[in-house]
């Protein structure tokens, strides 16, 4: 992180409000202590995030005294893009991928931190820690810079940028252990609580606001659930769980037999979908 701050003119930390982002932000606070991280946080808001995520985001920025940029793809909003009617693929494309590109161009950021980990998904396993993007934000997996030792090539030409993944070598278990040991605040949605959910396509979707229209035969039930991963609420499946403390979550993790992204509807859209999204500029 200090490497990035020292080598780039205009870095930014992409803050997605999830547990990985929380850990990444915590590391940044440590890296520059007693100073503050010399870059702003940026959240690409699809307008469909859980309300609790948004309030947590604002509290966190205020508590740490950091500058927070919130970017929404207004064009997408105007076109009425939403996860229910547009489908998850188009929604993600417009409100996340396009929105991120817009924001990076708008502010001219030449380096962006992200909380992605190599253990999440197959194509992520091959991503560099310093991952080069062309001026069009594209990722070329066949033309990645070799990364030797801890020596990172931070050189970019004007318009080009680098995505930096400080948590590349962390696993999901590492994240939770660290959250626990360091006592890092996280969004309450990770903890089990009785929440209103609907079962749809085999997944439990939380009814977070009245934009969610029920289909025929669907009933809102109050269940004891929590989330392993957080995204747009209509696209993020909850799991039934009574893990209401960090200890309970880690214990549950240790016996888990499914990966965390299983709850993410966007990954199963089509095969190799993550790789394709990244070539197009998804984080």
């Amino acid at each position: 992180m200090r490497e990035v701050a020292a080598s780039f003119e205009n870095p930014v930390m992409l803050y997605s409000i999830g547990k990985d982002s929380s850990v990444m932000l915590h590391l940044a606070m440590k890296a520059f202590y007693p100073g503050k991280p010399p870059f702003p946080l940026m959240h690409v808001d699809t307008t469909w995030k859980f309300r609790e995520m948004i309030s947590f985001r604002d509290q966190t920025a205020a508590r740490l005294g950091l500058k927070l940029i919130v970017h929404v793809n207004q064009d997408g909003v105007a076109r009425g893009i939403n996860p229910f009617d547009s489908g998850s693929a188009l929604h993600t494309q417009v409100m996340k991928t396009e929105a991120l590109k817009q924001a990076l161009d708008l502010y001219g950021f030449d380096a962006a931190f992200g909380g992605a980990r190599r253990d999440e998904e197959k194509s992520r396993a091959k991503e560099r820690i310093f991952s080069f993007r062309t001026a069009a934000h594209a990722w070329d997996p066949k033309n990645q810079r070799p990364e030797l030792w801890r020596t990172y090539n931070t050189r970019v030409n004007k318009g080009e940028s680098i995505r930096v993944f400080p948590l590349s070598n962390w696993t999901e278990l590492d994240i939770w252990q660290y959250v626990m040991v360091e006592n890092i605040p996280i969004v309450p949605l990770y903890f089990a609580k009785v929440r209103p959910v609907v079962e749809r396509d085999g997944t439990l979707i939380m009814v977070d606001d009245d934009r969610m229209k029920l289909r025929d035969g669907e009933v809102v039930e109050n269940k004891l659930v929590r989330f392993r991963t957080l995204g747009c609420y209509p696209l993020t499946g909850a799991i039934e769980s009574d893990a209401a403390t960090l200890e309970a979550i880690v214990a549950e993790m240790l016996t888990a037999r499914t990966s965390e992204r299983q709850g993410r509807l966007i990954d199963s859209d089509e095969k190799a979908s993550m790789e394709r999204k990244k070539k197009e500029g998804y984080f």
Binding site: K30, Y33, P34, S123, L148, N153, N169, R257
Partner: protein, 627 residues
């Protein structure tokens, strides 16, 4: 699991050591299959991953409907179609004994640079060989690269042994073949294991199919092999990444400790400038530490105001790294565009980024035979030995002492691509060419212009006796009087003019000869020259006196007792010499011959350096050197 058990479990997790290893081998040797097998058999696959794998195996699989473990690891679409691994993939798994990060690296020749990338962060390599094919060109190349990048532990996994009816003679022949080749590569441990990645023989547990094999299974070896390089016991090194200045009252230097340990109060040096200070605080967000070791990211504050910026290294004052702008190094070329000696590249070592060029490509290494080949250029995936010249001096240690202080990359200045990985072998000290120029204005004319008589003040005495300190004060005084002076300092001259010289007797003589010649040139220029050299031998000083000429040579003996010098030990050299780390050190294992008739003797009894300097100035006035 109860809370108490969980805490215990987490504590155990934290204590587990981490082994980073890479798998390498030729195309189709079964690397990805082996990793898939390790993940599968150690029950580390999630159900959704497994379900996808079963589905994929039917579609793309090459195993006739059985689970094809390679599909689990080969993540990119292009790889699945071509059936090869084209990039480094990192996998994570944990057993009861250890945590592992596996770098699955490409077998295809075109991607050898990616293998080097995987090797640069690994402590152990699993080199796969197809039992049907034996040792191939690629196998040798990979073994050579592993060795070059400092991997000292190798597992030779002879895979697909099932296809050779689990025959011992096949295994033995391959192992013998490999060992013949690998002997000069200097691996500390080389463990051959016959395996079948597809069926799991000798991967997790010993197999009944190879009763003749009496070694351990692969996973057991990985769990128990000792790869500790004891980085924490080496001299302290902290490459400064970031100068932390949140306000005017705080100035800290942040970075990750590359080697050694540091405690509050430790004396540290900045090798590039020679500044020395002491550690005042070790600052972290969780409170100050009393001690920090290699691998920890910390912020240090120092007792003194020292000029330090990103790119500097904070090092143990008593064991400093080399500082040079030229060194010999191994290079692995990683670009489609060939190396051009003389072309300026950017070199990044630690937090230093400086322009550099290859001045002399000595030879390439044929990775099949390890033979040296003459070369004018280097192409993709070739390994060469060359000299590099940098536009600025940097602090470094040889690569064999540590990867962080000895490994570097070369970056193309236009495309910004990483074109090579380099490993420093040693710093170079080469002579500069000095050409004589005939001049018309003579010495007397120049001296008259300055109202002074040119002279050499030759300060001799033990290391730490105070020669340089006194000479400095003398020069400052003369300068404020408007005299034209110059100091030739022993240490400084050895960084430039005499950097090709060591400390053998022959080199010491040459050292003095050159300094005396230089002093003579300055006398010719009409200057008052202050030479500050240990110059322990009478014969050397005599030689200098004769070269410069009587009347223009003033020998100043700084007579400080050895015990006092050792107690001071400003540069930590006596400690090193006593530990046997420096040979031929004056006063320890090399004699100092005191002058018999010096023009001037300064003893500590004469007072502090100021008073001693005053005596020298008095001598100059009396002798009419200055009016």
């Amino acid at each position: 699991m109860g809370t108490a058990n969980l805490r215990e479990f987490l504590a155990a997790q934290e204590k587990k050591s981490l082994l980073r290893f890479l798998t390498c081998g030729s195309v189709d040797d079964g690397k990805s299959t082996l990793i898939g097998r390790l993940l599968y058999d150690s029950k580390l696959l999630f159900e959704d991953h497994l379900a996808a794998l079963k589905k994929d195996s039917k579609q793309h699989g090459t195993t006739g409907g059985d689970i094809d473990f390679a599909l689990l690891v080969d993540g990119l679409e292009a790889e699945r179609e071509q059936g090869i691994t084209i990039d480094v993939a990192y996998r994570f798994f944990t057993t009861d004994k250890r945590k592992f990060i596996v770098a699955d690296t490409p077998g295809h020749e075109q991607y050898t640079r990616n293998m080097a990338t995987g090797a640069s962060n690994s402590e152990l390599a699993v080199i796969l060989i197809d039992a049907r094919k034996g040792v191939l060109v690629q196998t040798r190349r990979h073994a050579a690269i592993c060795s070059l990048l400092g991997i000292r532990h190798v597992v030779l996994a002879v895979n697909k042994i099932d296809l050779m009816e689990f025959r011992q003679d096949v295994f033995d022949a391959i192992v013998a073949d490999f060992k013949r080749f690998a002997e000069p590569l200097g691996f500390t441990s080389l463990v051959p294991i016959p395996i079948s990645a597809r069926f799991g023989d000798n991967v997790i547990a010993r197999s009944d199919n190879t009763p003749w094999y009496d070694g351990v299974a692969l996973l057991e070896h990985l769990e128990t092999v000792d790869v500790d390089t004891a980085l924490a016991d080496q001299p302290f090194r902290l490459p400064v990444q970031w100068v932390n200045r949140p306000n005017l009252d705080f100035r800290g230097f942040s970075g990750t400790i590359a080697a050694g340990r540091v405690r509050v109060g430790d004396r540290i040096a900045v090798p590039k400038t020679g500044s020395v200070s002491a550690v005042a605080r070790i600052v972290t967000m969780d409170g100050d530490l009393g001690e920090a070791v290699a691998g920890q990211a910390v912020t240090l504050t120092l007792a003194d105001e020292v000029d330090i910026s990103r790119g500097d290294v904070l090092a143990a004052a008593e064991a400093r790294p080399d500082v040079s702008d030229q060194f010999a190094a191994h290079l692995i070329w990683m670009s489609e565009e060939p190396l051009l000696p003389g072309r300026p590249y950017l070199l990044k070592l630690g937090t230093n980024l400086v322009p550099a060029q290859v001045t002399d490509l000595k030879y390439k290494v044929d990775v099949n035979t390890l033979e040296h080949l003459a070369a004018k250029t280097m192409r993709l995936n070739e390994i060469g030995i060359c000299n590099l010249s940098l536009s600025a001096r940097i602090a470094f240690d040889p690569y064999c002492d540590g990867r962080d202080m000895g490994g570097f990359i070369l970056i193309d200045r236009f495309s910004n691509a990483t074109v090579a990985a380099g490993m420093i072998d040693f710093g170079l000290r080469r002579a500069t060419n000095v050409h004589w120029q005939a001049l018309d204005v003579n010495r007397d004319a120049r001296a008259a212009l300055k109202h002074q008589k040119p002279v050499v003040l030759w300060f001799t005495g033990l290391s730490g006796s105070g020669k340089s300190t006194i000479a400095n004060i003398v020069e400052k005084r003369l300068h404020t009087e408007g005299r034209h002076t110059y100091i030739l300092d022993g240490d400084n001259v050895r960084h430039g003019l005499n950097r090709d010289l060591g400390f053998t007797d022959a080199d010491r003589v040459e050292n003095i000869r050159r300094v005396a010649e230089t002093a003579k040139l300055f006398v010719d220029a009409g200057l008052i020259v202050l030479v500050s050299f240990i110059s322990p031998f009478k014969s050397e000083r005599r030689m200098a006196r004769e070269l410069v000429g009587e009347g223009e040579f003033v020998e100043v003996f700084v007579d400080t007792p050895l015990e006092v010098c050792m107690a001071r030990d400003v540069k930590g050299l006596y400690a090193k010499a006593k530990a046997g780390k420096i040979k031929n050190f004056t006063g320890i294992d090399s004699p100092y011959e005191a002058p018999e008739h010096p023009e001037l003797t300064l003893t500590t009894a004469a007072g502090d350096p100021e008073r001693q300097a005053e005596r020298v100035l008095g001598f100059l006035r009396q002798g009419g050197y200055v009016a």
